[in-house]
Amino acid sequence: MNNRLLINYSPGSTPIHKLNGATKVFGFLIITVYIIMTFDVRVMLPMLILCSIGIVSMKPNWKPILLILSFLFVMAGVVGSLMIILIRPTSGYTHTGGETILIQWTNHFFISKELIWYVSAMFFKRICSLSTAILFILAITPSELAAGFNKLGMPYKICTVISLAFRTIPDIARDYIDIKNSLMMRGVELDSRKASLGKRLKQTVFILSPLIMTSFGRIGTIANAMDLRGFSKHKQRTWYSERDPTAADWVARAIILLVAAFCVYYIVYIRIMNPPPFSYWTPWGYWNG
């Protein structure tokens, strides 16, 4: 089951895996802020390199990662960029401040150097966000996630519910498959070769009622099992999966703090106090107007 959906259920053994849950959650939050705050390729690039090194160092199962990346490439890279080019070719000018037309068909359909830069930078940003997400998902187990969020102040009941959700995903998936099979044997055609998509969607409704029934049954039992073992007895709880911070954690936290400091500087000094006239930096620079 491990890594089948990218989700790690048992902790891995690489240096990043061994970090403490709170460090991982904290790091993820800061990197997310970092990626959100900027459209500047020069700022994003180092983070992408760091994330890529991180991902490679965890020796992941590449198959699902490549699948997600190729999906992103098609959807955001090809389809998304084409949409911008077709619908609003002036975006190049609005975001970078220049317009060097390369090809022009009509007044509304043209390609400029800046437009190409803009869609590429946009795509680059999406790759960065996705890599961060992949890095985080690969690095953390649901239990560490729960423990980490709790350490950062989220109520533990919510955290436990999150980890329980991950606990039950495979069970519900299995129930779903079982129910689907039994319905197929009773003549509900769910075979993609034999029934149209619309029809299959309609037939899928049949699966929902038994799926909900069995899932409710599960919830009832698990709630009792938790009560019987004293869940929500105290205001606080401890976490078995929360490793004690090691030297590596303190180093990682220091680095994350530095990144956080840079974020504060960048947001306050560059984005708020001295905002550039255009959000996208270009190598040929119109920033100074």
Binding site: L183, M185, R186, G187, T221, D227, R237, Y240, S241
Partner: protein, 575 residues
């Protein structure tokens, strides 16, 4: 026992669930002492689980209702305590070992109660190791619930309630989802735990023979919310209470009775391996087992399913592990077959292959002589019906009649034919009277019948039933089994049971197909399977008490089991 300290005291205790019209427990007076091991026995609906839930605090915490009288646990009135307070004294292992697995790994699940108790992680780790060692799961601390067998999950659940302050452990039907061998391991483990550390153990079961695999101090028999007997296992086995209250008698006791032995003269009746047989009784037994039982072998038709050298694995490629390897067997029309093997041996996969949900990597499955590769799942569904273990996973519609008609409507049959066939099926299944009832309003056993009916409406030749009797008490078990046997005897349906339940296999099937570690290791009569030590070990089965009895009187176990089965069938036909 009276010198000991009472830990659980019921005094004129009554309980009435808020959502039910009538009280569930009446006038319970029961005292359980420190260090005692008590079996609470009773059919479904006898109130035995309700009794346990009163002790662990789920009543009234999760299930509201009205309590009168007094229940003290460790000298404190339970209604004055919170479930949390009780949870530090009473540990409960629930019936469904999968659903109660809260953690994402074995270690985490064992630690769950400690986490809630705010115990620092540094103290938690050695405790988790200690508890997991106590149940023999110390090598699996990082394992995920999805990779564990039912028996292993149950061990984890047990380790999770071994806290220091726990002096009462409750096991709610611990055997319900285990194969026979894992069941004995569990009973053994419970026995060990009860011996170490002076814990009081309460086991709730309706499977008397399996529960008595290790001795208990006392048996409490319940019926309709009342305690009808509070005695020793030995005394209970001698009396007639078991039959009266719908509890299945152990096989060896039935055999002794059939043979005409006077069981009141036999010592040590609660354990077949220590029971003392006089020469006279031995003689009677031998005479019984050696007499000829007269029963017609079933008349079999032509071949309906032929599994020819089938190999299957979920992952393709050279290093893939085969889930099934070179499996071959055939099924004739009208046969009743048991498909046996431990969890993960490939039973369900084999059923899925036959139904066409998965397709073999090598080998061919013939259905009525036709290669099933050419047939869609739906087409196979008209020849072979598959009834899942949990009826809730199958029922789609709200009204019984609609559920039975569903498959026919999907086939787009003309209206009058749909109604006709559905009516006939409902009558066959004795559901006609309830045809307009909502599915939610009927019992579990009736729901099961609804699912069989919904399959039967398609008029399949073969019906595959996955654990049809799991979690059923003897009365409901007999109800389901009699119904299935009727389908076989009167309507000539071929029946394939996928089951752990050896009683079911012994009494209701002609042949057993046994799988172990992806391979077919036996395909012969049930009694030969049950007297073959090698097969028993490899398939996680266990020897029946008849085997032990046969060894005791020095006759061949195979013959003994065969005779017993034939005799039992004859008796039942007469009834």
């Amino acid at each position: 026992m009276n010198g000991k300290k009472p830990v659980i005291q019921f005094n004129d205790f009554n309980f009435h669930y808020k959502i039910q019209n009538k009280p569930t427990l009446h006038d319970i007076n029961l005292t359980i002492y420190e260090g005692e091991k008590v079996l609470i026995l009773g059919a479904s609906g006898s109130g035995k689980s309700t009794l346990a839930n009163c002790i662990n605090g789920l009543i009234p915490f999760s299930f509201e209702g009205n309590i009168t009288g007094s229940l003290k646990v460790n000298d404190q009135e339970t209604r004055d305590m919170s479930i949390y307070k009780l949870s530090t004294m009473v540990g409960t292992v629930l019936q469904d070992s999968d659903a109660q697995f809260v953690g994402l790994s074995v270690g985490e699940d064992i630690a769950f109660a400690m986490e809630n108790d705010n115990i620092p992680r540094a103290e938690m780790l050695p405790k988790v190791l200690q508890y997991s060692t106590e149940v023999g799961m110390e090598d699996y601390l990082l394992s995920l619930p999805f990779n564990l067998s039912g028996g292993q999950k149950q061990k984890v659940a047990l380790a999770g309630v071994l806290g220091d302050s726990m002096n009462i452990l409750i096991f709610d039907e611990p055997l319900a989802s285990l194969d026979p061998y894992s069941g004995t391991v569990t009973i053994d483990l419970i026995d060990q735990i009860a011996r170490n550390g002076n814990r009081t153990v309460v086991i709730i079961e309706h499977r008397l023979e399996d529960a008595l695999y290790r001795p208990v101090d006392r048996v409490i028999l319940m019926d309709k919310g009342r305690i009808v007997a509070d005695t020793t296992a030995d005394a209970l086995l001698r009396g007639d209470l078991l039959r009266e209250y719908g509890i299945r008698e152990p096989l060896y006791i039935s055999a002794l009775k059939y043979a005409g032995c006077d069981i009141n003269t036999i010592q040590g009746l609660d354990d077949p391996s220590t029971l003392e047989l006089s020469d006279e009784n031995k003689k009677k037994l031998r005479a019984f087992f050696e007499s000829q039982a007269d029963i017609q072998p079933p008349v079999l038709g032509e071949e309906t399913i032929n599994v020819d050298n089938v190999t299957f694995s979920y992952i393709k490629g050279t290093k893939a592990k085969n889930v099934l390897k070179d499996v071959s067997f055939s099924v004739k029309k009208g046969e009743r077959i048991a498909l046996i093997g431990k969890n993960g041996a490939g039973k369900t996969t084999l059923a899925r292959l036959i139904c066409g949900i998965d397709r073999p990597n090598a080998g061919i499955i013939y259905i009525n002589g036709e290669n099933n590769k050419a047939l869609s799942v739906r087409e196979i569904g008209e020849e072979i019906g598959y009834v899942m273990q949990n009826p809730n996973q199958m029922i789609v519609k709200d009204i019984i009649k609609d559920e039975v008609e569903l498959a026919l409507r999907l086939k787009k049959l003309p209206d009058d034919e749909v109604i006709n066939r559905a009516e006939n099926t409902l009558k066959t299944c004795e559901l006609y009277r309830m045809r307009n009832w909502p599915v939610d309003a009927v019992s579990y056993g009736q729901k099961k019948r609804v699912t069989v009916a919904s399959i039967l409406a398609l008029e399949p030749e073969v019906i595959i039933l996955d654990e049809p009797t799991a979690g059923q008490d003897y009365r409901h078990y007999m109800e389901i089994i009699n119904f299935i046997n009727k389908l076989n005897a009167e309507f000539g349906k071929t029946i394939i049971f996928i089951t752990h339940d050896m009683h079911l296999a012994i009494e209701n099937t002609d042949r057993a197909v046994v799988l172990s570690e992806s391979e077919l290791i036996a395909d012969e009569s049930v009694f030969s399977v049950l007297s073959d030590d090698d097969v028993i070990t490899r398939a996680n089965l266990k020897q029946t008490s008849l085997y032990i009895l046969a060894k005791k009187i020095g006759i061949s176990p195979e013959k003994c089991i065969e005779h017993y089965i034939l005799y039992e069938r004859m008796v039942r036909v007469d009834e």
